[in-house]
Symmetry: C2
Subunit: 638 residues, 2 copies
Amino acid sequence: MNATDKFLAASAHVDEAAVAPLPNSRKIHIEGSRPDLRVPMREVSQADTPTGFGGEKNPPIFVYDCSGPYTDPAARIDIRSGLPALRQRWIEERGDTEVLPDLSSEFGRARAADPKLDELRFPGLHRKPRRALPGKNVSQMHYARQGIITPEMEFVAIRENVNRAAYIESLRATGPMGEKMAALLGRQHKGQDFGASIPAEITPEFVRAEVARGRAIIPNNINHPESEPMIIGRNFLVKINANIGNSALGSSINEEVDKMTWATRWGGDTVMDLSTGKNIHETREWIIRNSPVPIGTVPIYQALEKVDGKAEELTWEIFRDTLVEQAEQGVDYFTIHAGVLLRYIPMTANRMTGIVSRGGSIMAKWCLAHHKESFLYTNFEEICEIMKAYDVAFSLGDGLRPGSIYDANDAAQLGELETLGELTDIAWKHDVQTIIEGPGHVPMHLIKENMDLQLKHCKEAPFYTLGPLTTDIAPGYDHITSGIGAAMIGWYGTAMLCYVTPKEHLGLPDKNDVKEGIITYKLAAHAADLAKGHPGAQIRDNALSKARYEFRWDDQFNLGLDPDKAKSFHDETLPKESAKVAHFCSMCGPHFCSMKITQDVRDFAAKQGIAEAEALEKGMQTKAVEFVKSGAEIYRKV
Amino acid sequence: MNATDKFLAASAHVDEAAVAPLPNSRKIHIEGSRPDLRVPMREVSQADTPTGFGGEKNPPIFVYDCSGPYTDPAARIDIRSGLPALRQRWIEERGDTEVLPDLSSEFGRARAADPKLDELRFPGLHRKPRRALPGKNVSQMHYARQGIITPEMEFVAIRENVNRAAYIESLRATGPMGEKMAALLGRQHKGQDFGASIPAEITPEFVRAEVARGRAIIPNNINHPESEPMIIGRNFLVKINANIGNSALGSSINEEVDKMTWATRWGGDTVMDLSTGKNIHETREWIIRNSPVPIGTVPIYQALEKVDGKAEELTWEIFRDTLVEQAEQGVDYFTIHAGVLLRYIPMTANRMTGIVSRGGSIMAKWCLAHHKESFLYTNFEEICEIMKAYDVAFSLGDGLRPGSIYDANDAAQLGELETLGELTDIAWKHDVQTIIEGPGHVPMHLIKENMDLQLKHCKEAPFYTLGPLTTDIAPGYDHITSGIGAAMIGWYGTAMLCYVTPKEHLGLPDKNDVKEGIITYKLAAHAADLAKGHPGAQIRDNALSKARYEFRWDDQFNLGLDPDKAKSFHDETLPKESAKVAHFCSMCGPHFCSMKITQDVRDFAAKQGIAEAEALEKGMQTKAVEFVKSGAEIYRKV
């Protein structure tokens, strides 16, 4: 079951499925203010509209792209070498860091020196660890508060706009048809944003201001220069996180790297490595060196491994060494369950499912065993010192999140949330970037209370929620029970949604589960963007629906979140290539296709022309004449 | 591709997968006021709590059961004979119907007389059609308005309570442990019901009153006496519908019967047969004779088939004959797109996706071709006369529902909704039961407007929505894009959710897709029940979460909506039988299991007892002393 033993670094290879370009897609880069600032996007080209539907040229659509160089045919991919260090120069230029002669953590040094690990070890360049110079703070928040717009901030500003302005502009430049298309594709419902402040266009200065006030973070450890900057905040596109990681019972290093590349291919904005099994230090090195997205971890898991699973034997020293070990590998954010206070623990005694957060239960056990507040809480300022020396962001863990509908929004959960708000203040005092983790299992009508209290206690620090799951009764479908809650809380203001896979509560997700979880959360995040009225969010829906209406089957597949599945579903009943241009599908057949009939209606009206429109008018006893006039005109062919 | 030609009635057989009882489940019947009124439910038995967790006996859980006799090992199932006519006597007793000597519809008679159809034809008893005596109205609404509580009303009252009172009572009778269990399992969050009026217990009189005022319907054609009564209304459990049906391009009669039994097994409350392919009259007969749930259709589909797909050649006479044909087969509700008025059609011209409802587009085409209002609208009162002679319910179709986010909540859609409200008044004047169909594609923030306008225009006639889909960009995952909207609109007050399968927009659903759609909608409906605060809805969540916490793996699977998938997911990584009693799973392994650690915390505290609690108290600088006291007491074993 555990393939780790068979894994050999020398023969590790990239998942072929993760490097194929997506259909009709092209990786483009938009250059910023300097030539080494190149923001990746995916351009999806479209076929022309069939003559019978108007015959116009359809513009390419640009979509946000998390997949890094993997989907770029121009890139040379070798997971044994890792990705290029695209942020290296930006970090160096700031002149506030130093390269250390050796790893600072004892554990890291011991692993590095162990020859038994050689055949597992990431074989590429092991850069020496980088750390802030004494007295320096290298967090993006610190720069933002100094008024500095970093290349990272400019990068995310360009990225968030998804080439929208250039796109609309280029359409308009093509004349009246382009104007019409720009108006059509660009039209969007006014959103309901619950007090967010989303500008029409994201500027680097807006990014800086949001990071400075703590309303957004750019998780970018200086030891993970391979990552493409991204931003998490309620005034930006809703992001999603994918959890991967082995356990004592399964999975190998290569499988975890595969899950990471697979997760980013389908839209994972960040990836958390939650490994609790064997060789998690080495597994993490492989993942980080090959990851184009920020990597998060829960350091207490590895710390617990170091004391053979005996929570009460954990010490601040072991934990501190783990933080430094991981910070020097390049972990971009740490989940720290510092809000599990002694006084909250008894509040969980009457719960249906007690403490379901692994980190939360570890800390609760420690607290009870030692009769004192956890070393995470008592050493929180020292943790901040470590975070700012590498720019690791806090993800303040909700160790007391509810694990069942029964336990939702109880005193333990909401008490901890208040403490997380206090810890946010401390982190911000140190200019350390901070997000706040949220539930869990919550029925729909109690979701908004979570968001409202989080905004209040944590002063708009980004909320990062697991689901929430809106019912407990569907094991095997918890990506959906939670996708419902995720879409809703994303709408209400959550900045990042932590995915849940179909295997939740049942087993460790495999690659298929990772994809199912990712796509579910991607669509939930997008539904939230639409509901918030995020500028330009509707372009992709509009383009896809236009393709659908015009029976451009391939475009419909390719503009979707999962072209492969859409195409295979279509082809199950109509596999022939000719069916891709057919003006009907297997659902209704040619007679019953409403889209075809609608077109017939338009054609009919066009043939009759104005006479028809006038006849229609005469036939009507209502005040709707003006609609007929405008409508009938459009029914005539352009 | 089309297996119809090979189908032979003589060898038709039930889907074996549909008749196996669900694991640890038993079909029970609760008897009402008369011995032939036996309401089915499924009882799911549970294992005892393991000794380490308290050792208590866990009561069986009762769940609503749509599967009819199929999951009853005592029933003899032969789809060539059909199901027993359980409502026959109730219908006869009312003495307001007559058995006709022959079918009233020309088409029905022609099909019956065609020997070429013999080998396809349902071989069981062809009952003569039953119709109201001249001048009589046999709708449940009519009886309700006369103050009559029918056996059907009593049946649904018992069904809606899901044996809750007896269950809680029986628990309490077992003493203090039972009291504790009743309190634990029965505890529920107060809901937010947006003005619904859900009583703590459903009485037959409440059912009558709701049906009388049109706020609920019991779709029960007198020619479908095989069906088990169920109710659709905002003050009852949220229901779901599954669409099945062949198309010109695929599926056989047996496949459609299989989809129906499969759909009801997993929780389809009603099934719509949307066949548009070959032999749809015979297919429908097979489905109805074997269906334990109400069957809905869209009669215009078959009418269109009768004029070879030429919408403009449709006539009132052909349509009328189709209504009678289907009413005498036993269809329980008809989708009628009578709200597609001439004046709304031009409003769709500027849409992204025009008219996407098949029925809507057929009627639009007819209206334009004839320059007049549709025969559905102009003959609406005569349609009411047919409906009340058989007790067929209206499902007033939203022919102008939006087919894309772009088109959501536009003038065409909302105009039609207003007309559906006017038609509701007419239907109610005839005491004809009526529900209203709703969208479609709607972004989250515009969903509530749909519900609010529907409640207003249609005076709380039950709303029956397709999703809505909250984004267009995920073909292949539209069960999820729409499950999000379905859960939300169910919470807001929608009475029945029409499922969407993963194949939506791409192809005809197969059996797997049907199940995926059903489970998704079942969980969405349940999430809505929880959010509305439907009495007792949380019992199943509570029981499942208790099982989860106590590592009763089999109970966790069996209390879920899909025990088979849950078990197979679990077994992918831990297939051994011993893993079903293991106190950990493959996700975290034994060291990292938070539930195990929580129990360790409880055990630890228990061992230390009061001394520990006092020590804890002394160690605290906070005001939380009272929590510790109560908490620490609970930490000790009972």
